[in-house]
């Protein structure tokens, strides 16, 4: 088929929704089967969450009563207020855990995005003695599967007197290498340097170029990583259990609370606490879902 004819056909087909949207009978059957599988799987993911939401409005005896699918006799909205009063871990109450979650997530997210972005920018736009060493080290650190250095890290964190202090969160978040670094490195590498030259002609310095010209162009990636990072850090619990035990967040605190089975006589209130804890991440996701779903890419670990 010659090129002109092919183009004509493409034009005609695009008017009708595009050839990629056209499906043969076999494809239609395949897509119908996959749709059914996806729908069933979606149901199994959503149903337990809905069940938890429903159960969070029940009374403790009603929950234990065995009628697991029955709607609450009385919708106890008070369970949610009660969660703030009852769900305490050590000396930290639910409000305290919420506060800990907020500052922990904020520090981790800001440092976890800005520092790899700055590192990626410098490594992509500047060449200097030792550049090859730093870049190789950044890649090798990602690839070599180090196992079991947590003990050593705990020892060093203790030696630096950072164990169980908020300063640990700041210091631990200052790493500039890793997957996020690679994404920013790739982005800035593809960005034209002529913007910078224009600023330099106008007398602008390197900090001005980075902060006012280059960094804003990476805003979509910065935002995407800030959103996904904040969701991840909000839900983190193992690091907090190990290094920040006196500052339980909602995720680590609710896990610790649940570990103490004696106190779990009132599951509905515990469920209410869990639901409150997931609201911020659901809100963030519902606002930014389009951005999250469309702007992440990674590729090529050369080292």
């Amino acid at each position: 088929m010659d090129t002109t004819r092919r183009k004509e056909i493409k034009k005609l087909i695009r008017k009708d929704g595009g050839i990629l949207d056209k499906k043969s009978t076999g494809e239609k059957i395949l897509f119908a089967i996959v749709f059914c599988i996806f729908a069933i799987h979606s149901f199994t993911l959503i149903f337990p969450v809905l069940w938890m939401i429903m159960s969070s409005f029940k009374g403790p005896l009603e929950y234990m009563g065995g009628e697991v699918f029955r709607l609450p006799e009385t919708w106890r909205f008070g369970n949610y207020a009660e969660a703030f009063r009852v769900l305490n871990v050590g000396e930290t109450n639910f409000l305290g855990m919420t506060f800990n979650s907020i500052w922990y997530t904020a520090i981790r997210t800001v440092c976890g995005v800005f520092i790899p972005a700055a590192t990626g920018y410098v490594m992509s736009k500047y060449r200097f003695p030792g550049w090859n060493v730093i870049f190789s080290v950044a890649i090798i650190s990602m690839i070599i599967p180090i196992v079991g250095n947590t003990a050593s890290k705990m020892q060093i964190i203790s030696t630096l007197q950072l164990m169980d202090t908020p300063l640990f969160v700041v210091v631990d978040s200052l790493g500039g290498f890793g997957g996020t670094f690679l994404v920013f490195y790739g982005f800035f590498k593809a960005l034209s340097w002529s913007y910078a030259e224009a600023v330099m002609i106008d007398g602008g310095g390197h900090f001005v170029i980075f902060l006012k010209i280059m960094l804003p162009q990476a805003a979509p990636i910065l935002l995407t990583y800030a959103i996904t990072g904040s969701i991840e850090f909000w839900n983190e619990y193992e690091t907090i259990i190990l290094f920040l035990h006196s500052y339980p967040t909602l995720a680590s605190g609710l896990f610790e609370y649940q570990s103490n089975a004696i106190r779990l006589a009132n599951y509905p209130i515990y469920f209410a606490g869990l639901i409150i804890s997931i609201i911020p991440t659901l809100l963030i996701f519902s606002i930014f879902s389009d951005r999250i779903m469309t702007s992440v890419s990674i590729g090529g670990l050369k080292g």
């Binding site: 969450v49 599967p145 003990a151 050593s152």
Partner: protein
């Protein structure tokens, strides 16, 4: 001396200050928390808790690896870890298929995309809790199974026969949307013209996926495979949330966590020794696989 970009222009003093100011923090962080931590870890592996030089920890760990009988033995942890690793590895092609159908805009694809990504948004603590309550002998699943004629519903998580398989099932069930952002991102960047041309030539979905899409997103896919390989000895499920390592569910990751979290400084040496052994075995394998994967050419577009 700093050379800026491709022009190979000599950098100014300002450029030097800028580069130093930006890189000093991540480099210092790497020196302390990667290099320092790992050197210290190697030293710890050759020491007794008293600080005395010894090979005892390494010997003890090797003995423990060879023994898979105890509930908390490293041998059992290794076996479970390799199971999780194999599962995670197999999940990547499966996740690609899921991403492919979403990319092909299957009916309701936007809703599916959000729902499959839900486990990545909702706290693991919350989801694990719902799941364990849901499958408990008095929970909704048991009620359903009893209605289908099952007289006695087992404790899926408090039973050595089922516990690991149940957690494995949970991670598969939750993992449909894993890597979805990267895979969907890679698929979205494929030029439509290429796929349209192939369609005009009568390509079917399977051939399209294998012969067109796979090479076009190989850069992303190979990165995912390499990153997955790095989890050879650290792959795990949410053991802490479900069983706390009981019922033969322990993995290397959980074994390390429980040692440092619950046994403190006294366990640092055995953890470091185990880490050294697994790193020494894993690193050459992973570097070889990475070298092998990179032999496959990447399509530039």
């Amino acid at each position: 001396m700093i050379i800026i970009d491709k022009n190979k222009r000599l950098g100014s003093k300002g450029a030097l200050i800028f580069v130093l100011a930006i890189l000093i923090i991540p480099v210092a962080h790497w020196l302390v928390f990667w290099l320092g931590v790992n050197i210290n870890s190697i030293l710890l592996a050759f020491q007794l808790p008293s600080g005395e030089f010894s090979f005892l920890m390494l010997k003890t760990v090797i003995t423990d690896i060879l023994d898979a009988s105890g509930d908390a033995s490293l041998g059992l942890a290794l076996r479970n870890t390799l199971l999780y690793f194999a599962k995670d590895f197999c999940m990547i092609p499966f996740q690609l298929c899921v991403a492919y159908f979403l990319y092909k805009k299957i009916a309701g694809y936007k809703a599916f995309q959000i729902i499959f990504y839900l486990p990545g948004i909702v706290s693991g603590v919350a989801f694990a809790n719902v799941f364990s309550n849901f499958i408990a002998p008095s929970g909704p699943l048991a009620v359903l199974l009893k209605q289908f004629g099952m007289t006695e519903v087992p404790e899926f998580l408090a039973n050595s026969t089922y516990a690991t398989n149940t957690i494995m099932f949970y991670t598969i069930w939750m993992g449909w949307g894993g890597n979805m952002l990267l895979l969907c991102g890679a698929l979205a960047r494929i030029p439509l013209e290429i796929l349209e041309s192939a369609r005009l030539d009568g390509i079917n979905p399977l051939k399209e996926l294998v012969f067109m899409i796979l090479p076009l997103i190989w850069s992303t896919l190979s990165t995912l495979f390499i990153l997955q390989m790095t989890k050879l000895f650290t792959a795990s499920g949410p053991i802490l949330l479900f069983t706390g390592g009981a019922y033969q569910t322990t993995t290397i990751g959980f074994w390390i966590f429980s040692k440092v979290a619950y046994q403190g400084a006294g366990a640092y040496n055995s953890v470091a020794a185990a880490g050294l052994i697994f790193t020494a075995v894993g690193a050459p394998i992973i570097l070889f696989i990475k070298w092998l994967i990179e032999k496959i050419p990447v399509v530039e577009y």
